[in-house]
Symmetry: C2
Amino acid sequence: MSDGAKLFFGKPCVEAMNQRISSGLQGKNALLCTIGFDDGKWNQYTESLSKSADKYGCQCRRVVAPSGVLVKDFSELIAENSADPNVTGVIVQQPLPKVYGEALSRIDVKKDLDCLNPLSVAAMYNGDEGFRPATPSAVIALLKFYGEEISGKRAVIVGRGNAVGKPLALMLLAENATVTVCHTKTRNLPEICRSADILVSACGVSGLITPEFVNENAVVIDVGLSFVEGKSRGDVSDEVYKMCRAVSPVPGGIGPVTRAVLFENLLKATKLQ
Amino acid sequence: MSDGAKLFFGKPCVEAMNQRISSGLQGKNALLCTIGFDDGKWNQYTESLSKSADKYGCQCRRVVAPSGVLVKDFSELIAENSADPNVTGVIVQQPLPKVYGEALSRIDVKKDLDCLNPLSVAAMYNGDEGFRPATPSAVIALLKFYGEEISGKRAVIVGRGNAVGKPLALMLLAENATVTVCHTKTRNLPEICRSADILVSACGVSGLITPEFVNENAVVIDVGLSFVEGKSRGDVSDEVYKMCRAVSPVPGGIGPVTRAVLFENLLKATKLQ
């Protein structure tokens, strides 16, 4: 039993990234364009991105599509903003209602900050140049910031979604981890999780990861987010914080790093243009 | 210790598939177009595809690009043949020299029998409609033919290549297996492999998988192929055949099923056109 996990907060990692991002974006007139619907969570998120844009000295254009817009008009909205030479980077609301999925192919791959265009997805899959999605990139950035070796380690990911589980599996594999992906149909979930050197939970089920799921030497990265009695909670239970080597907490862990990664990608996009 | 593994030969699986394929392709004037270079292994493969085409009552056009052809000319070759209304399906030499990779995006996704166009890859990744690559499809077809449950089972894949390891991981995940991908940087490889209900080896290292890698209840699918003293050999050592529940052998296992899957995809393509 350890004396309590080391906490992998996002803030120090973000501060280290910020220097590079701010100096890189200085005088570049970068413009981040967000495209989505009038949706509570998304509005909150784009508002916080807009504030971050201010801090980094760049602009943010928040495009809101009318509810029930035709797919072709939504596609056109993405295409127009992507083609606008003033726009440096584009992100589109996730999750997006499935019917609008085809519109993502209209994002310019050189401005595709969150790896949403199918061509960006294929490049990630093939290990080719291109943008990687922000949240899994943040997981890897956080691990590296805190000096964790990834190569040769056993990584277990709980969750197989397109936003975190699947892309993170491919990205950790590219970093030479041995990767296992678990999900709702997994049997013996605690046992499999216990075999992890790096355990990532991306379920959005508060308290799912109990000590039974974690070995004492593991690093646990909490990417889950749910709301319990109005408070944001992660997947990792309080007891885990007492018994494993390190935990990235929710809130205050991966969230701010994800935001910084988006602006790091915006910087990368300005260089491509 | 079992009395010896049940052998998952490809032939009975292919025979079951053939009825559907042959009757489906009958009178459809299907034309399979193979595009590649003058390369010994590829030539041998396309020759055998050509013979299979004969048996299925369809045509095969073998396009050979001149060695050292410019990327744009190779792309044009693919585009022309894909656009030819007589061509029902296209496959391009794999592995393809990296420099020619961009040409794969010129394959019509409706004719992309081996899932090579980046748009096909992204559709596989996202779980959307489209063609799946032939070899991993054959692994799943073989398991299903022999009545093996996949959902909830632990699948361990040794190898993370674009032809087998990575796509098979995504496809087994879509079938609700819990999937682990191992590779040259994996530590404790035998131990991890022993945890598998379904163990797939796609390394091309003769005899790599010894009894130490296999639990007695496992099904082992050999997708490795190497040549030892002129004979084709799989990754699975002879001793494994004596101690586990089932093995798909090399030769005679996954190879013929892969070929049948290509023609099954050709049939699917004729329906899309």
